[in-house]
Amino acid sequence: MKRRSFIQKASAATLLSTVGSTAFLSTAFKKPVSQKHITILHTNDVHSHIEPFPASHSRNPNQGGVAKRYTLIKQIRKENPNTLLLDAGDIFQGTPFFNFYGGELEFKLMSKLGYDAATLGNHDFDNSIEGLHAQLPNASFEILNANYNFENTVLNGKIKPYKVFVKDDVKIGVFGLGIELKGLVNQKMYKETRYINPVEIAQDITEKLKKDEKCDLVICLSHLGYHYKNDKIDDLKLAKQTKNIDLIIGGHTHTFLKKPTITQNSEGKNVLVNQVGWAGINLGRIDFYLDEAQKITNNKGASIIV
């Protein structure tokens, strides 16, 4: 990587002195940018809640449901077509829709809604790794996980660690992290899936997304859980122990936050951590406004309004 950046610098210098051929290249490389606006929409722990809660439900009458969620998503996409739709796992399990159809409807509906990516939660293994594998053809979105080693399983090569999306010329790197399955899921369900320390993986991948892939935004889809009082890794600890992550979209703990949490990374820069409860009662929305470096006068980074 060091070698490549040296070559890049060297070649750029060479070109500057090469008259004629540089014109088109320099414009291609440095197009003036106006402010960019990227919207991130997200869900977590929907748990097969395809329909709204019944009218008789004590806490959430008529709330949630995929058809309502789609109405909202379409409205927001009309406001800003540069929108990504993401899910932080535990798509499966919780209503008979899963028991009857094994996740087929969940994946088909997420594809219809235009989800861009999702990560895996522990309950997504509830019909075993083969059951999950069998539903993959119904998912037109990317399923991302970077810290499960699937080498000796049917999912080998089917789950990517990250994906880079380009919206309005902004590069957005999205990667996925999953919780340790041992103790949460019967081993005969997840088989030979091996769990890898998510912190080390996140450090490596964010470096890659920032330096090699030149991402303007880095988003972590996490099913680790929002916060534990003990040493168990969670989203807040992950934020503190890494750099280059702009947003952690969490799940697993079904945490309802009054507003997204602003915390600091290992370099003291702001990281946003969000989670929106469960069952599709809420849709998370994060709007990023991006400028070229010289236009940002505040050296503390972005101003965050939550």
């Binding site: 070649s11 829709f97 929106v276």
Partner: protein, 253 residues
């Protein structure tokens, strides 16, 4: 020089292929909020129509009447044993025993489930497939552990300390006024320390759920591949009417 130039063009083409032609940009302002998927939002018709046939099939199946109960059954119907818990433990014994016997020629001595595992009441009237999903929404399945007499004594100690109506069958536990064990029997006999016993439970509890550590590392573990929910569906289908009662299986004097 030319080599550098070619390399550079290559790089720029590579960038074009990824549709990124401008300089890096940085977030200058971020707004975050939560949008409630509230009751007043209209459902998208195309999505609703797509879901409809899937829902119909489920509703047909779920509304199938399997059995009947003349009274409501709730897990709060007793302190140490409840009609619903007794029914569930008895159902496991009745439905799992023939399968276990056929596979191993052994017999199930007793059943232990957990009180927290009773996930809903059974309403008075018709019992449907949905009832089984309500009381057992999880995918847990029946396992049979072979444990020593010593471990069985640990099980009785656990129940004594837990003071909860964990569903049991095939065992009796009577506590005196001071919460000491007055009588603890399995298949009507006291625990023989030199014997081993076959206890049916759920995979969740066998793996340490509710801190039932006496189920860890059993001498033998038999997995029936029989989900508890399916077992209850089969039990209800077999009995046109159920009317379980609170009895003497686990009491305090």
């Amino acid at each position: 020089m030319i080599r550098f130039l070619i390399f550079f063009i290559g790089l720029s083409l590579f960038s074009c292929a990824e549709n990124k032609t401008s300089s890096p940009v940085f977030p200058s302002k971020i707004e975050g909020k939560q949008v409630p998927v509230s009751a007043k939002i209209t459902e998208d018709k195309a999505i609703k129509d797509f879901i409809a046939p899937y829902k119909e099939r489920i509703d047909d199946e779920m509304n199938k009447v399997l059995s009947y109960t003349p009274k409501i059954l709730s897990k709060t119907d007793g302190e140490y044993n409840t009609p619903i818990g007794n029914m569930m433990a008895d159902a496991v014994l009745e439905m799992a025993q023939p399968i276990f016997h056929q596979r191993t020629t052994k017999n199930i001595d007793a059943v232990l489930l957990n009180h927290g595992g009773i996930r809903a009441n059974i309403d008075k009237g018709d019992i449907t497939t949905k009832t089984a999903y309500n009381i057992m929404p999880f995918e847990n399945e029946v396992v049979i552990v072979e444990i020593t007499g010593a471990k069985l004594n640990d099980l009785f100690t656990y129940l004594t300390k837990a003071k909860r109506a964990h569903p049991i069958a095939g065992m009796q536990l009577i506590l005196d006024k001071n919460n000491q064990i007055k009588k603890a029997t399995i298949q009507g006999k006291p625990v023989d320390k030199n014997k081993t016993y076959y206890i049916a439970t759920s995979d969740f509890l066998q793996q340490g759920g509710d801190n039932m550590l006496f189920f860890a590392h059993p001498k033998n573990l038999t997995i029936l591949d029989y989900k508890l929910r399916n077992l209850f569906i089969d039990y209800f289908s077999k009995h046109p009417k159920i009317n379980p009662i609170k009895d003497q299986r686990f009491i305090k004097e």
